[in-house]
Amino acid sequence: MATWQFRPINPNENSGTSTVDDNFANEERTSVEILVRETLQNPLDARNDDDVVEVKYNIVNVDRTDSEFLSTIFSEKALLHFESGKLIKDKSLPKIIPFLVIEDFGTSGLEGTFSDSSIDGHAENWNAFWFREGEGAKPTKSNGGAGQGKITLYAASEIRSLIALTRRHSDDKELLFGCCRFKQNYKILGESSRWAKEARWGAIENPDIQATPLEDKPLIAKLKLELNLSRGDRPGTSFLVPMPFGITLDNICKAVIDEFFFPIRRGRLKVTVGEKILDASTVSSAAKSLGPSARHTPAYRDFLEKLIETQLKITPTATALAGWNLTSKLANSSFTHENLESLRKSFENSELLSVDFPLKIRKKGCDPTLGKFRVILRQEQDSDSSEELFIRQDLSIDGEKRLKGSRRTQPVFALTFIDDMELSAFLTSAEEPTHRTWNASRPKVKALYDGTSQLLNAVRNAALRLVEFLTPAGRRDNTALALYFADPNSVQDKPKRGPDGKKTPLPPILPGEINIDIPAPKPKSIKFMSLVDGFSIATVPDEMQKKSLPLSVEIKTAYATTLGDPFKQWDAADFWLNDDKNFLIDSYSVENISRDGNVVRFEICSPDASFSLRGFDENRKVEVQINYREHEDAQDIEND
């Protein structure tokens, strides 16, 4: 039987509010973006081997009056606690309860002991997720590690609750469990006892007994059906966030593209949002459809795509020699002679280039180990400023910016790519809880490593140092200041000035230099004349003598448009030529006139004929297309 386990706290325990939420208050990122980061980062960590991780987001509405599991979540007792904890205003809930459903596939599920919360260890994901805060079970080399990210799932729910159905890779067990994290300890009206901020939803109601998950197969089957889960028998975890607020499938989709374009395009992650699939083959067009609201510019995304295809798995253009990081600038001695030449040539030609930078990592109490990372960049001469990204194991550390602030360098696109496990472990422990920036002074990294600042700065500044090193010495430029001092007389094809300031005239074209006979235009058989409210055409008798009459003529008309084909955009509401009261035809030696919407057809029967059509809006241009041909049995002289 599914039930909530609410727990009164011991009189000696402190009470107050949770401060973990504050670590995720970030004015540069929306709550949806933070939720997406956390919910995609965790499955990427828990991937099985090199499988593509698949995550599905959906919003599903469940009828509260017709759901077995919802009746246990919103039991009378639960509603009393939710109201007392100020999660709901009163006990009147809507009939339809929406759920944000997040399902990951290709992952191992929440592994480890689930019946004893005291067990710790690297493989104890269950306890870490449900019973720990600020100390994840994940090894530090994985993307998480701070153990705080799960709060974003609770914060996404109006009732700060989360249900999870996990199917474990190791034992195929399906476990259903949930938790509510109140903002603070609370009291029930008329009672003196204080209640714990965490309440569990599972198989045990008695707060003195370890809360354990439900393994009730019929209940789990019903839940899967009601929430339309795609889980089936595949391992992984389905997170169910009741009553999500401020979350739509569209803003989830945008956040996924903005935050995880790189691993998706790289083929490491596949995300389905509602019906929309974002994978290696679709994410580029999906990002394009975001237009200017996308985080990365189209040019930078193109740079990322090119380097994914060509630069990640090849030998780099150069490898920095040991000791490159001992000085504040890169020098010729940082590379071999051959490497130097290829680097400079690639940079000058605005080609993609990559450099591997080796580093010694000094973990306390251990011998130094060697790690490395790769910087990939390309000069962008036409850009005003640089764009860059740091990717650590598929996660973008997008708060780190070094090139942007530098006014000294040539504009470039750069990626600092860290895939090395040892270096990733170091950087993870230096990350702020949001994983957007690094901080060499965080207690965790200082406790584990020596020389944290030097090591971190070496990674952070490598792209900047490389660009500064490769930027060629300045050259005299006669266009750069045109922004301020444009020469009004300087346009393309006009004489250019030399360094002396004098204009060098273009070489004159000498008589006889161009010896091309340009044929005279072919005489037309019909002359066109524009009228204020229409047009007229008249035959050219000399030309018409060569024709075999009658001449079939078809005239298409449409009001001119700024964009697109005016004839395709013609609408009967614009005008209707069949209206012979308003559209007047005047003709001479013309027969078989027929009107058809915006088309008029007739036959010219004599070499001296004319036709006029009036009645168009006098304020609008009319596009006129005249097609004519001789009688169908006759020879087409024009085309001979």
Partner: protein
């Protein structure tokens, strides 16, 4: 089948050539693009004074509309483009109509920003990163005599390894360029008649000064009149969209608010 395609023109709408316009565009790494009309050739247009100019920036199927004043005093300040996709070619359509009338009298279509097309204009001053051993910049002004080199702005290469790095820097643009303009002006007043001479590099500046809309300096101007003329040039120069834009960027960086 022979075909003739024609367009009627009942209102006598005039199409102006692209060479009547110079449009500049700035695309910052973060934030919206800005454009401004840098030059409009009133004489070439043949349109009467008082004719109103407006501009439609368009990319793909999206458009954004801007009023640009009248042809005798167009608005040269920067306009922020906010609604257009960045992955489609950006073009400008200029529309002209008489005051108070809805009917268009002229238009120009498919105008591209000068720095986005291949026709990057030349500058009247060169720029070169070099070792200055202390100063950040130095303007080398050769005497305006026949066969002399034209001016070059030297910048400290450790700060600005490339010419573009200096030219696009907002602080450098806002602080240094007006002073460069002042030094040019001072040379002009020290060499009366130099603007009219085609034999020296200073003669190339006459059209530029004219675009600033400041009256020519009287030949008999005294010291005070000369200083006033220089100040007027600098004020007009700083009102150019290129300087104004840099000031806006600085203001945004300092206060988070636009001027």
């Amino acid at each position: 089948m022979p075909k003739i395609s024609k367009t009627t023109n009942p209102t006598g709408l005039k199409e102006l050539p692209a060479k009547a316009f110079t449009v500049r565009l700035i695309t910052p790494a973060n934030g919206p693009r800005s454009f401004w009309l840098e030059r409009f050739d009133h004489d070439l247009s043949g349109l009467p004074s008082g004719t109103e100019i407006s501009c439609v920036a368009h990319a793909g199927n999206a458009e954004e509309f801007f009023q640009l004043g009248t042809i005798e005093s167009p608005i040269y300040s920067a306009n922020i483009i906010q609604k257009l996709p960045t992955d489609r070619p950006l073009k400008f359509r200029f529309l002209f109509c008489n005051p108070g009338e809805a009917k268009l009298s002229a238009f120009a279509e498919n105008i591209r920003a000068a720095n986005e097309s291949d026709a990057v204009g030349e500058s009247l001053i060169d720029i070169e990163p070099t070792d200055l051993h202390g100063p950040v910049w130095k303007l080398v002004l050769p005497q305006p005599v026949p066969d002399s080199d034209r001016p070059v702005l030297l910048v400290e290469r450790h700060l600005f390894p490339t010419a573009l790095a200096a030219a696009n820097d907002m602080w450098f643009g806002a602080l240094v360029m007006p002073e460069v303009m002042r030094q040019i002006c001072r040379l002009i007043v020290e060499n009366p008649g130099s603007l009219e001479s085609d034999d020296t590099w200073l003669g190339n500046w006459s059209d530029f000064i004219e675009t600033l809309g400041v009256h020519a300096l009287q030949e008999d101007a005294d010291h005070i009149a000369r200083e006033n003329w220089i100040d007027n040039i600098i004020v007009a120069f700083c009102a150019k969209a290129s300087i104004r834009l840099q000031l806006n960027r600085i203001e945004t960086e300092l206060t988070g608010e636009l001027l």
